[in-house]
Point group: D2
Chain length 389, copies 4
């Protein structure tokens, strides 16, 4: 076994010097130059809480799609949407969808629910112990909430219960303001659990997570019960617009949707739509979201109707959109600029941002969907998407 040489750290580790020293170390260890990685425009002193062993940056190309026209409750008007990606076609495709929806009068967006959770599991001697504890939890909810609130400014709470065997799985739900809120819910729930453990000696074992919040993982429970924001984006698009802009038709779009619905039901997919992950990921990277949440945020329900007059009612429901406009990476240099471009940086902006994301997703769904039915898809990728070194 080789002797393990740790990545070097300095007492003040968030400096250009410390980063540079690490790049030198890596050059020595692995023979790799990190010149471009070392090229960044901000002061590393802002980084504690965002990264350890800071060494430089990934420079991810950023394009702009838009204007996107949103008729939301929090987002209203036109937006130019920053998208960070290296996948050719992506920005062009979303842009095309935004053009279609702009002509159709914009995208209506609605936030249906908003809750972030941590999901501790409690074990008892037997199932009856789990059931009794469930009742106790209900009875002592006010005290538990008080303890949880002592650690955080998060708002409304409730506790869901799911039992199996001698285990009670719970979901402690919170509203989390403008933060995505995983950390604050973790802290609040830990505090609550410590209090519970003191009060309820019959608990045999306790784990702060029992795979019922499914942080960074897609799950039916979150698709049903919401994690983050549950957002719906809707639009009604006249057939003539499909013909004019998309070389498609509402009737053809609708037939393709039926085939995709059945295919997705049979294949066991978590999203019967097309590719919401593309738009979500590009916006998440651009705006400093926790990009790993794409795992959950990429679940979606698509529902369409072909109306008698040929209009196409089209909607996407994102049941687990996890976003913040405060905390996390949102305050970093380029990320903050991108949030500001959308008028979404800081306090009381998270719902506006969630609506813009959902509206963007809708545009991308119609664009890729149209391309598939118009058989332009592969050609578009061939024109835009080929990049060889």
């Amino acid at each position: 076994m080789p002797t393990r040489v740790s990545v070097p750290r300095q007492s003040d580790d968030y400096t250009r010097d410390a980063a540079s020293a690490r790049r030198d170390f890596l050059k020595q260890q692995a023979g790799a130059s990190l010149e471009h990685v070392g090229s960044y425009s901000f002061d590393p002193s802002v980084l504690p809480g965002n990264i350890e062993h800071f060494t430089g940056v990934a420079q991810v190309p950023l394009g702009i799609a838009g204007p996107l026209l949103v008729n939301g409750e929090h987002a209203q008007g036109e937006f130019y949407v920053p998208m960070a990606t290296a996948e050719g076609t992506l920005v062009a495709s979303y842009n095309r969808g935004m053009k279609l929806l702009h002509e159709a009068g914009g995208v209506k967006t609605t936030i249906m629910a908003d809750r972030m959770q941590r999901a501790p599991a409690f074990l008892f001697e037997d199932a009856r112990g789990a059931r009794d504890f469930g009742e106790w939890l209900d009875e002592h909810f006010d005290e538990i909430r008080e303890v949880a609130e002592s650690t955080t400014k998060s708002g409304r709470q409730d506790i869901e219960q799911y039992s199996a065997s001698r285990i009670l799985y719970t979901r402690f739900n919170y509203t989390t303001g403008d933060a995505a809120g995983q950390n604050m819910t973790g802290k609040a729930t830990q505090a609550a659990c410590h209090w519970i453990l003191e009060q309820y000696p019959a608990i045999d074992r306790f784990f702060l997570e029992g795979n019922f919040a499914t942080d960074k993982k897609s799950s039916q429970i979150n698709m049903l019960r919401t994690r983050g924001k549950r957002v719906v984006a809707e639009a009604i698009i006249p057939d003539a617009l499909f013909q004019k802009i998309m070389h498609s038709s509402s009737e053809l779009m609708y037939r393709a949707r039926q085939v995709s619905n059945l295919g997705g039901f049979m294949s066991g997919v978590n999203n019967n739509g097309a590719h919401s992950a593309n738009g979500i990921t590009a916006m998440f990277i651009a705006t400093g979201q926790d990009v790993a949440n794409v795992a959950e945020s990429s679940a979606a329900f698509t529902y369409a109707e072909l109306r008698e007059n040929g209009d196409y009612y089209y909607s996407v429901t994102i049941p687990s959109l996890i976003v913040g406009t405060y905390g996390g990476g949102t305050g970093l240099a380029t990320q903050r600029e991108c949030l500001e471009l959308l008028g979404c940086y800081g306090k009381d902006k998270v719902r506006k941002f969630a609506e813009i994301v959902a509206a963007t997703v809708l545009c991308g769904e119609l664009s890729l969907g149209s391309a598939i039915v118009a058989e332009e898809w592969v050609d578009a990728h061939d024109a835009y998407g080929r990049n060889r070194p």
Copy 2:
């Protein structure tokens, strides 16, 4: 409806000038300065095929975890792993796991399968038509393969069939060399389908995608049948190491795993492990992967055993790891440097890279898992993960 003002483009659109003009335009339209976005170290002329409406970059902080010790078939030895993220704790947590696994002798990695697909759906007058066509597909496979190969250098192929109603859903599987390969499989499949449509007039309707490849979406079919690389990372960790490094024990880890297994089965999660998306996302951003593939690549199967001597056998199987070391964003400035840091840039490196990703994931699973059972988790996030502007 407002007059739509498109994002400005220039005849040579991949220049610093064109990008600068767009930033000026956005400042005018939205009042947002994009100074940091405009700070990048490479020549935009490399970008065609990666992005449209190039405006600048997202600078994503990059840290280094390691050394990671891998006993793979393609990756062997120590690696310093670049991770681009803004989530505090992430790099530190993976780094801690790498330390544990290094002392345990490293992570064994194995690629079990390798296939990328496009999934056209064919409709017929009735189910018998679909069944007949399925037989015809089998009989004419060699000709179909020849047509598909005429568009691409991709290798081995096969066609899976899944029927429902009057529809035959297919999966055209390919090996794709060092590229992730979605575009080349799309192109090859389109060519094959055009040939098929000419040969087989009974096809009533045809769509190039029927939700059976589930590109950018997680699905049971891909968890079962593989999309991209199916990789297993395994290790055997002595109990003493858990005690020493993780303030945990193999017995406690194992009990928590059982509770997570049942919780995940009940919650309908696509990953019974902890948080593979975190490591995968951070590596994907750093190395120019298509980050939206986190949607699929974050699925995983965890399997553990508590051996009689207290050793902990632990494994993660990633059934849909979609990676490339050629094409896409892999040739961009910082991205290429990060691949080179791993010795994974270019030809014949994709399997090595896949093994490093899987090994990294394993380290992160054991680190977060240990933190949860040792109840350090929230405290760690409180120390590292709080960043407020």
Copy 3:
């Protein structure tokens, strides 16, 4: 197209004569004698509400397993369990499991939840309409309950909400006493919906079922949120008993369980155990349950622990056990006798019956599980299960 000759009916259609006339008709139409079908021991006048076009009976062989020792809250002591089946080995296998569990001190059973539902879906102009209606539902819950109660004696109620697109899916939950209760919940919910439709004109469309109660179908929602009874059966079995009675060991049982858990998670099964449907179906046929509910009732969560002393903690959780001891087929001749054999006929007996079913299931799981690990399985079927005409 042939002229359609309907099955003949008589003015008093529930008589031996009417049944006999139908058998004659079938002999004439299809040349088939139904002598044995015509052999039954009860007066057909009891059958209205149970069947139409009564023609005779299926005589399903009935065996007895037991004694089963139950330590329930409602079922206590020994029971001889009637099982109607034509699958050789089944009764013997459950009987063997009952012997094991009897020596182990019996099966502990616990009912965790109890709710039956009907799931109307409401459509609105847009998602906001659905959200507004959801709030209105909460506010007017007391009035809705009152209307629902006017049709039925069912007890506690609540309404769950799940939104997607412009649709609000709901679950109207009820307790239903000793009846399985699908019909009474249907009637109560229809009444409630008619009242709602009068009060809330913004409802665009309404369907009494929207695939969220999943009657006669297995679903994640019912596995999570319960349909019928959620019952846990638990036991602790010493290793010595496995060795003595099952030619197995707790350690081997446990290893097999881990492999089955992972296999089931990957295969997308709704039951990580062995074959609960076998015992449930045989008891359902014997006791006049609605046997089609096997579709839902066969879902299960198995959770096991190998304790330090070699004891095997084993549990089965049945999340959607749909049973009644009143109404439906429970009052028919043989069916009532079988319920009486268990002391479960009539009022206030449904929970006792649910516990006996769950305890029986547990015995069967351990028996088949042991046979598989002891490799007796195929041999047992070869000895008992071969019946050729």
Copy 4:
């Protein structure tokens, strides 16, 4: 703990005397009379291989629906379908659907696939061991088939492989003639595995079932890859017939279908249709099928189209219909009569029977679907479905 008194057995245990002695024993032990249970019309000597501890019969009411008009490849013409159930409305509802489909010209049925499996799991030292073994399996397939065939007359075979961790899960697929075939596949696979274990010493552990055949349990793998028969039933129904017979319309049916599709996708149901389990169960009890297979056979894919002329294309795909016309309970007295009524008893009849089941299911789907949209549903149950003792 009470002294356990076993159910009494006799040296010749399949006699009226032995059964009577058991009824007496139960009367003594539990005070329950089993007079009706003791009333059966056949000689118990036929029962070895079907039941143990034979005590009598469950008399399940049997009604007839029809004529059902089938345009199958194996079933052609009119059939009077025996249904054993105690659920009021069921026979009437299927009968109504059969009337609709008769007027519409009948139900077209097609068997798409036919395979029964056993799914052994093999464990190795590590994942590479599992991969190597997978290759060995492919290479030695002919020898394995030969060994398996030595135990059974079953036909075509193949072996599917699914890997995770150090485990290779397999599915050994067989055609099984007119038998459902679980036992013969079990026996053939066991023989094959014993041969494999001799040949391949690197196998660390082996279990004959790893939850990948999911016998008696519903699973995505079986919905995708077929277990038993994969059957499609299709029909095209003019709008006028919906209006005339069902008090409904094709347009309303179609809208309800869309809502059910989305509801089912979100609720995680294994059947986006209505209630196929009802018809399948009633036919299974009547004809001596293994009724516990309802757990798997109740999965279904519904796909509908509203054609331009108002016609309604409607189809149901049953991916795991497990039926036999030979062996099991098919030769018992009433069961054989019911199979003979359909012309389906004995050799070379299983595909005909599968088609009749699927056609029956289609009729029931349209009947219940119509009732829901016409809001007759609850009223129908209120008229037919209320039976109180």
